[in-house]
């Protein structure tokens, strides 16, 4: 599904990604771990297409299509979703209205008609129940005054609504207490299928107890320095990152 080959990326003159290789197939869950500043969030952001980052070498393909010239919204329309570490507050636009706009823009781009209001409501009800989100919450302004946990839960709610092919969850576990973490993990697990894939970006092993990865990669100084199965995460938890440098 997603192929990353020898990816180098800069912000300004500074090279942050220094040759990433990664291959993700449908149905897989990959965890990317690593110390602060190793380039984890940059990798997520570059896949989602943020224009401030410059890809200097290598390429990313999604289902054999080169993403290089695609704007962030076009990547979203092709099924890439990035759950933000720091979701942005949008006063005056409710969660519901925002999600509706996002869904219908994506449908429009894919040559589909707008989702009928009845179906939209049904879907909102289903997904909000899955993530144990109160209906009142959905009429609040997007992320405005939300607690850290509410913001993350709301990101996963949007993911559930948009049903992406590739979901990248950037530090979704930070700011979540254990109960909220379980709810979010449960949501992600329920949405997982043989047709989609998940990249989990995280500092800690904790999230991986609830969303079990097929592969774990360690990122250090802009490169993947080690890959392995889920047991690698436990090893990292015990030993830290220093032994890999």
């Amino acid at each position: 599904m997603l192929e990353i080959k020898n990816l180098h990326a800069n912000i300004g003159d500074k090279e942050i990604l220094k040759g990433i290789n990664l291959s993700i197939k449908a149905g897989e869950v990959h965890a990317i771990m690593g110390p602060n500043g190793s380039g984890k969030s940059t990798l997520a952001t570059v896949i989602a297409g943020k224009e401030e980052y410059e890809v200097t070498k290598g390429k990313i393909t999604l289902n054999n299509e080169d993403l290089e010239d695609l704007a962030p919204e076009e990547r979203a329309h092709k099924g890439i979703f990035l759950s933000f570490q720091y979701p942005i507050e949008i006063p005056g636009v409710s969660v519901t209205n925002f999600v509706k706009t996002a869904i219908n823009e994506t449908r429009k781009a894919n040559g589909k008609k707008e989702l009928p209001a009845k179906d939209m409501l049904k879907k909102i009800r289903e997904k909000s129940e899955l993530l144990e989100i109160d209906r009142k919450f959905l009429s609040r302004s997007l992320n405005e005054g939300f607690s850290g946990g509410e913001k993350k839960r709301n990101e996963i709610f949007q993911m559930a609504m948009l049903e992406p092919k590739l979901a990248i969850l950037d530090e979704t576990d930070s700011g979540l207490d254990i109960d909220a973490l379980k709810v979010v993990a449960n949501g992600v697990n329920k949405l997982k299928s043989n047709d989609n894939a998940v990249i989990l970006i995280t500092h800690y092993q904790r999230l991986l107890d609830y969303i079990v990865p097929d592969f774990v990669h360690v990122l250090h100084n802009g490169k993947i320095v080690k890959s392995g199965g889920k047991e690698l995460a436990h090893e990292l938890e015990a030993k830290g990152y220093d032994w890999l440098k």
């Binding site: 962030p72 979203a76 979703f81 720091y86 942005i88 005056g92 209205n97 706009t101 996002a102 948009l162």
Partner: protein, 446 residues
């Protein structure tokens, strides 16, 4: 070759003034006559302000003054309500004071004298029963050292007169609407209004200037608002006029102790708009609220000049102006806050946030804080920027295309200045206006 000699506007006003005075004043000894004459002398001596005047540095009047205006509008032109319904907040019941080309329209209005006066300045200035009130309030806070305000004072004869005696919560808002019909190619209008809200009373007012054709209109409006002890006044100015309309609005507010006055200015339209808004606090525990949203493009200009005078201790002022400027539009914000030595424990907040969409647009923002008391909390902030990159990326990563994402963020940017609107139907209306102005597809309930 034929030469047409057009008088310059000042000359024309000078000539018109004598005729005007003969027309309106039967009793030349009256105090009003005296006020008008003095004001006129001031205007005659000072003329229209130029760019050399500090307060008008970024607001050139030249394009407004170049027209050959008709000073005295014709008698009432009839308009059907259906034709202008959309300019009213018609979803709710309200009192209405409506003028067509400066002349009162009894047909479109809904005034009252039942328990309180919601009526006309012309009656208040003429009828003996209002004399005491007029002598006490009229022209007491409108600036006497501003030539344009003086010009309005000199010609003051018509506008809204609102006097709410004490202990009355007005059951419905008042709408003051000034229409111009284009019956003259170029017309100058000078409405003069007076609002007096006595102790414990509460009133909501919506004001609008609207031209119905593309003929040129220049409105020089002056309003004085008096809020007595514990009075609450919410004033909303909707400025969404045609691109051939120019407006100079001077609004002065005087507050007595524990009163709360908010003035909300929404500037979306017009060719040239200058809002001079002054608050004078004359008592303790007063709250003054100034909100503004400006969204303009083309070559439009909007200038918000505000002044808050903190004269007494324990008072607050909250000022928030937001501006979005596209194309070659020009914005000016000048926010002056004076905290006198006696005004200890003052809380004064001022915020002016602007977004420039196109390189050709400009904003001149100038906060001026003059603080003479030592135990006060005063803050001001001014930002001029573009849309936040991270926020843009967030929206686009959810599949929302660039243009729509921009519009949505601008909408969100303006949104918090809407929070203070207390009439829900008006809030919906303004929200829609903003969405329309920004091209946001609000295909959803508001």
């Amino acid at each position: 070759m034929e030469h047409r000699i057009t008088m310059d506007l000042k000359e024309k006003l000078v000539t018109s003034f004598l005729a005007f005075e003969n027309n309106v004043s039967t009793d030349t000894e009256s105090t009003i006559h005296d006020i008008r004459s003095k004001a006129f002398t001031y205007f005659e001596e000072h003329g229209f302000p130029t760019k050399k005047d500090e307060e008008w540095k970024y607001t050139p009047l030249k394009s407004v003054l170049k027209h050959d205006y008709t000073i005295f509008p014709k008698a009432e032109t009839a308009i059907e309500f259906a034709a202008v319904k959309k300019y009213f907040l018609h979803e709710i019941d309200s009192y209405k004071i409506v003028f067509i080309d400066g002349v009162y329209s009894s047909f479109l209005s809904e005034t009252t004298h039942d328990g309180f006066d919601i009526c006309l300045m012309s009656s208040a200035l003429k009828k003996p029963k209002y004399k005491m009130v007029i002598d006490h309030y009229f022209n007491k806070i409108a600036s006497k050292k501003d030539s344009i305000t003086s010009l309005n004072t000199a010609f003051s004869s018509e506008g809204a007169y609102i006097h709410i005696p004490k202990n009355i919560v007005l059951p419905k808002p008042i709408q003051i609407v000034h229409f111009s019909t284009g019956s003259e190619a170029q017309v100058m209008l000078q409405p003069r209004s007076l609002v007096i809200v006595d102790e414990n009373s509460h009133v909501q007012i919506i004001e609008r200037h609207q031209s119905l054709t593309d003929n040129v209109v220049f409105t020089n409006s002056v309003t004085e608002i008096f809020a007595e002890k514990r009075a609450i006044v919410d004033y909303y100015k909707i400025q969404n006029d045609k691109k051939t309309a120019s407006l100079i609005d001077n609004t002065s507010v005087q507050q007595k102790q524990q009163s709360i006055v908010s003035v909300n200015t929404f500037s979306f339209g017009g060719n040239f708009t200058r809002n001079t808004l002054e608050f004078h606090q004359e008592g303790e525990y007063i709250d003054s609220i100034l909100n503004g949203i400006t969204i303009i493009g083309d070559k439009q200009l909007v200038d918000n000049h505000t002044l808050v005078n903190h004269n007494y201790p324990n008072c607050e002022s909250h000022e928030l102006y937001k501006g979005i400027y596209a194309d070659k539009s020009v914005g000016v914000f000048n926010g002056k806050v004076i905290v006198k030595q006696a005004a200890q424990k003052t809380n004064a907040y001022q915020q002016n946030n602007n977004i420039i969409i196109d390189d050709g647009a400009t904003i001149n923002s100038k906060p001026q804080l003059e603080i003479f008391a030592d135990d006060v909390k005063c803050s001001h902030g001014c930002t001029i920027g573009q849309l936040d990159e991270d926020a843009m990326f967030y929206l686009r990563s959810r599949g929302i295309p660039k243009k729509e994402a921009e519009a949505l963020l601008l909408y969100a940017f303006a949104n918090d200045a809407l929070e203070k609107i207390k009439i829900p139907e008006l809030k919906t209306r303004i929200t829609r206006l903003i969405a329309k102005k920004l091209g946001v597809e609000l295909g959803f309930e508001l």
